[in-house]
Every structure is written in structure tokens, then in C-alpha cells.
Symmetry: C2
Subunit: 243 residues, 2 copies
């Protein structure tokens, strides 16, 4: 495991007083980064961090719990705190909190819709040749898995992630991923039921072609059609679950 002591101490020499909560997270992020901690590594215990940072254990706990809610770390009684996501001090980790009514889960999809469409449009306009190849490859893979009758959801995620990456703005991918996670955390597909949006898989080929060929309006149109199909499936499924 990486050693956190030497470089961290040196940093703290120059660290100014920690006053706001943001300072706290910032300093903590700097500590983790300087220590060279990677995903999966364990952080020093709270008491140790409190001593190093010169604040009380309460404040360290507050910061760590904040990170936990953001999914940056996982915490377990007795086991310690382990890093679950990359942390860089130059980046701003900002928590968004959504209030979702249980019965209106469909609304998450309504928010996802314009984001996906915009991402597809941007990808068609700005993707590099490398990224276009990537999109086409993911599409081929998705169709192969689909036609083999296997579970295509992971392939579908990879395909869409390739589009998000090609949009040139990583925030689209982050937002959509988190929205999807929110959806999955509440709705889990009933066993045996067909996966939502099954019928849209064949539409992914022309979508990929449109993006690869740089036809932004067409890419937007197909993506919109796909999402509308999925929305219908979701609505029907919800209806069935209720009745």
C-alpha cells in the first residue's frame, strides 16, 4: 500500500487553516492525491486523518461521509475506508441531490432524453476518427450479442458510453450514467420479463452510421426515436406493475 506520511506532512506544512467545508474536502483530496492512493486502496483511519489535518475527528467524519454519499469511498465498520473512485485535487466534486417521487420514475427518463439526443448530435459533429471507429465497433458488438439472444445491457451501456465520450463533454456521460443508476436503484427488471427497449436494438445500426458519417440531425432523430420507444416500454411496464 502507498505510504501517506512523508509527502502529506510536507504538504500540510503549507496548508492554511481549514475553515469551510470545501476547504476540508479540498485538503483531503490533496492528501489522497499526494499519497498516490489508487482505487481500492485503504485510507488512513479517521483518527489518523484528524491528527494529520489538525482538525477533530468529527470534521473528518463529516467529510468522509460526504464522499461516501458521492460514491467516492466506501466505509465499513471495522474494515476501514477504501477509495472507490479516482480523486484529483484540481477537480471539483459537486454533489447533486434529486428528489424523486417513487411513482414518477418515468420522469428520470424524460430528463435523460434531451441529454442523450444532444450527446448524439455533438458526437456526430465533433467525434474524432478514432472515436467514430470505436462507436461502430461497439455497435457491431451490441448487435452480435443481441442476435445471440444474450443479455445485451452491458453492451448497450458500452455503446452509449462511446457516444458520450465522443461528444467532447464528459459531463454528458457522467449525468446520464448517474441518472441511469438512479433508475436502476429503484426499478429492477422482473425476472423473465423482456429487457426494456428490446425493440430498439436494431435501430442502433442506423444511429451509429449517422454519427459516424457526421449527419447530426439524423443522429438526433434516431436517438429521439429510440428513447421514445424505451419510454413507451417503461410506461407499459409501470402500468403492468401497478395493475
Amino acid at each position: 500500500m502507498a505510504d501517506i506520511s512523508t509527502s502529506a506532512d510536507a504538504m500540510l506544512q503549507h496548508a492554511r487553516r481549514i475553515e469551510t467545508g470545501r476547504d476540508m474536502l479540498e485538503t483531503l483530496a490533496g492528501l489522497v492525491e499526494l499519497a498516490g492512493l489508487k482505487v481500492g486502496d485503504r485510507l488512513p483511519p479517521e483518527i489518523e486523518l484528524a491528527r494529520r489535518l489538525g482538525v477533530s475527528r468529527s470534521k473528518v467524519r463529516e467529510a468522509l461521509m460526504s464522499w461516501q454519499k458521492m460514491g467516492i469511498v466506501t466505509r465499513n465498520k471495522g474494515a476501514g475506508t477504501v477509495l472507490a473512485a479516482e480523486v484529483t485535487s484540481g477537480s471539483i466534486h459537486l454533489p447533486l441531490h434529486l428528489k424523486i417521487e417513487a411513482e414518477s420514475l418515468l420522469r428520470t427518463h424524460a430528463v435523460r432524453r434531451p441529454l442523450e439526443i444532444e450527446a448524439a448530435r455533438l458526437a456526430a459533429e465533433h467525434a474524432t476518427p478514432q472515436q467514430r471507429r470505436e462507436i461502430r465497433a461497439r455497435m457491431t458488438e451490441l448487435l452480435a450479442v443481441y442476435e445471440a439472444g444474450e443479455d445485451w445491457r452491458d453492451s448497450d451501456h458500452r455503446f452509449h458510453n462511446a457516444i458520450h465520450a465522443a461528444s467532447g463533454n464528459p459531463l454528458f456521460g457522467q449525468f446520464i450514467t448517474q441518472i441511469q443508476r438512479a433508475f436502476d436503484s429503484v426499478y429492477t427488471a422482473p425476472l423473465g420479463k423482456p429487457q426494456l427497449g428490446q425493440a430498439t436494438i436494431p435501430m442502433h445500426r442506423p444511429l451509429a452510421e449517422a454519427i459516424v458519417s457526421g449527419d447530426a440531425p439524423r443522429a438526433s432523430r434516431i436517438m429521439a426515436a429510440i428513447l421514445d420507444h424505451v419510454a413507451e416500454d417503461v410506461a407499459r411496464e409501470m402500468e403492468a406493475a401497478r395493475g
Copy 2:
């Protein structure tokens, strides 16, 4: 102010042990709801809540700070905790986590763009007569403040909030508000500098008219134009700040 004692006590009779953090927030939300607290009302002090809920002040503080990060309450030393947003016990609060590179803050605006456009489109299609009147009123107010040469940012927020509310999907408002807050938390307008998007204020009249008259394509178009103007302002400002 609403009285929280009688009904809350009755509820706590049936409340099971609070175990997870989610239970805590859920119970607290139920308490606030049963007490009939409205936005602007003050919550009982932490010690009082701890006594009522049968948990320690630490846990109450944790929950309240969580709410503070979500923007549900505001907290001030000496003044107390006041409700800043509506709370319903049936809702799910889910945290999102975004990593934003400091120099690419402009990208938050790129995400906001399709959401605002979609919200405007939905508002034009689904707004109730009441909501259309509200939008028109907020627009009139905004233009009045603008022409008086005063700070129009609050009025602008109210106007856009009216549109989000009229979209029929509260998630749009929540998302955009949080994105805006993220932006504001990093970028604070330099004193004396013109407010970003100043030139777009007159365009808000035709935007409101389009929504009120139900012309969805036109509403989308004008909203897109407004956001593009703002994006240019932001880009120029960032350029100036760097050089």
C-alpha cells in the same frame, strides 16, 4: 408558526427503530410533513429534534447537513434551521456525483442547454392556464427590474423556475437549479462587470409569448438562442479571467 408537538409525538409512537441513514431522513421528512411546516418556517432546534426522534444530536446534525447540501434547508449559527424547499416523505433523495475540471466549467452550461430547451418545449405544450399566467407575470417583472437597471438575477431565476414548473416534470427544475448552483459556487461575477447574459433579457419577452401561446418549436428556438448568447458571454469572461 406550526406546532410540531402533538401529531409528531403520535407518529413516533409507531415509528420503528431508526437504523439506516435513509430511515433517518425518511422519519425526519415525515415529522416535517406532519407538522405542516412550509417553506420559510423554522425547524425545532437540533436538541429538540434529537429528543423527539430518540436519537442523538449527532445523527440529527448529520441528517440536517445532508438536507443542507441538497438545498432543502438553510442553517445559520444562532438563527436556526429553516425550510427552504418542500419536503414529502414519499420521495427518494438520490445523490449524484459529478467531477468537474476547473477549467472546463463552461461545460456545465453545455449540459444545461438541452435541459432548458426541453423544459421550454414541454412548458409550451403542457402548461396550465394558471402556469401560463405565472410565466407572463414573471417575465413582466423581469423586464421591469432590468429596465430599472437593478440586479435582475433573482427575477431571472424566478422566471425560469416558472418555466420549469410548467414543464410538468419537477426533475428539470431540480437538475438545472443544481447545475446553476454548481456554476455559481465556482464562478462569482466580478464586481462592476456586467452580469452574464445581459443582452438576452429583452429576448425573454418573445420566449414567454411563445410558451404562453403554445408554440413549442418557437419556444425551443428562442431558448436555444438565449443560451447560446449566455455561453458566448461565459466564454468571453473566462478568456478575460485567464489573460
